[in-house]
Symmetry: C2
Subunit: 247 residues, 2 copies
DNA sequence: GCAATAGTGTCTATCAGACATTATGTG
DNA sequence: CACATAATGTCTGATAGACACTATTGC
């Protein structure tokens, strides 16, 4: 007990159509602050930790309450605790990062149950337009959230190259083309379809379902699913946090 | 402000002679608890976060106070916050991991200044004898510190393979043989001297000083130092925490 | 057939690991 | 010289990237 406020925040990633090009682009929902400090500025969704709930549960709860999205993946990122990061009383924030599929984004507040979020003050931003260093051009967020977003972006991009994290953006089955497009959107560069196929097939993380997708004006691609016996990501002895463990 | 206690703990690594074989082995200092809960059990050094100090400063301060060592490297590991991880009031622990050189280990409490640590209740343990899963054989620590140690060990071993973290165990100059022995002790396996040399020379992280070590009954090895223009480790946008930044 | 994407094959540069060889100090 | 370790060289198998080629659908 030392009079330090403990909060959680979450950097949420989704692939959404770019407002101009329409191509899928890494996007982050932010919340506009409606009170001091930093009133009017955008910041990460979050809130206080309830003494009875775990940190991950707290992150999952607050992000649903404020943005209406239900993530398919949630992982702790880093704890930010500089004494001056928030005016007034000391606040330490345990920051998580999350992935959501398009179908997990509630564009409207859920009508029946749960607290409705304030849609007026929630908006999606292209990830690459955020996270620029203090003092530079571009949109700047409240608190130290510029640095937080930059770090989360780095972690996602690093991790997509060696883990099966991309499935957080995909449904239960998908084509190799869809999986590749996820990687391309995250890494923001094109990948060779042939080499990508070899790599991901050789990794053993995905399994062909035997089904194909018909209807395209071209050869029907195979459907794949992730091998559920393989871990989603390599987090060492900690393991990953799946939605089931979140609450 | 939510009535949650905020603490820091640190997993400290040093290379020390194995109590039986005498060969350098990864070792961790622990503190014996002198009060409930878990009185008599060993646990990680740590303490409460002072509202005025940063998390890293807090970690650095508490580990010096309790064990007398001054680390050459300190990095945040993970924040552990399960509601039931400590009996009584809720405690969330931000855990750091640290590296120390042999000369930074104060075997006796510093005589002149600072609080003397309780040498009776501090002891070094071979890292591989710790971190075993709950319920299995072996020494078990207070709180959730078994899992904490296991995770820290995983992180150190992962990181030594792609970063220049080994310098945390070495002085300002060293031979390739010494550097290799650090890697071998951390990874607990032998490395081919020739291939190790090529890899580390090719990485560009070390520079030959031009000097040699004489006196051995063999060809005198070159001395190297780390290239100070290269970063110690790749922590993304956060960068590393050097001792200078700790306080 | 043509367009479009799925899927396979092949070549090459690079790199890690195994291991042979040479170099240079001390006793 | 013998010995021990330093330092260099060479071979090989695995792999990533570039890119050519074949397969299969809809129109």
């Amino acid at each position: 007990m030392n009079g330090i406020g403990l909060a959680v925040s979450t950097v949420i990633f989704a692939l959404r159509p770019h407002p101009e090009t329409g191509r899928p682009v890494l996007s982050i929902p932010l919340v506009r602050r409606t009170r001091a400090p930093f009133e009017g500025l955008w910041c990460l969704p979050g809130g206080w930790v309830d003494p009875a709930e775990s940190l991950a549960t707290s992150a999952g709860r607050t992000l649903v309450e404020t943005t209406g999205v239900r993530p398919s993946y949630l992982e702790q990122l880093y704890t930010f605790g500089a004494p001056d990061r928030s005016p007034g009383d000391r606040v330490v924030s345990v920051v998580y990062w999350a992935l959501v599929r398009p179908d997990q984004i509630g564009e409207r507040p859920p009508s029946s149950k749960g607290p409705a979020f304030d849609a007026e003050n929630v908006a999606w931003f292209v990830a690459d337009s955020l996270g620029s260093p203090r003092g530079s051009d571009g949109l700047h967020l409240a608190f130290d959230h510029d640095a937080v977003v930059a770090y989360a972006l780095w972690r996602l991009r690093t991790k997509v190259e060696y883990s099966a994290i991309a499935q957080g953006f995909l449904g239960s089955t998908f084509t190799l083309s869809e999986l590749r497009q996820v990687h391309e959107a995250v890494l923001d560069r094109e990948l060779d379809p042939a080499n990508f196929r070899r790599q991901v097939e050789g990794s053993g993380t995905i399994v062909a379902t035997g089904e194909h997708v018909l209807g395209g004006r071209h050869r029907p691609p195979r459907l794949y699913r992730y091998d559920t016996s393989a871990p989603l990501v390599d987090n060492g002895p900690l393991g990953e946090l799946t939605p089931g463990e979140m609450s």
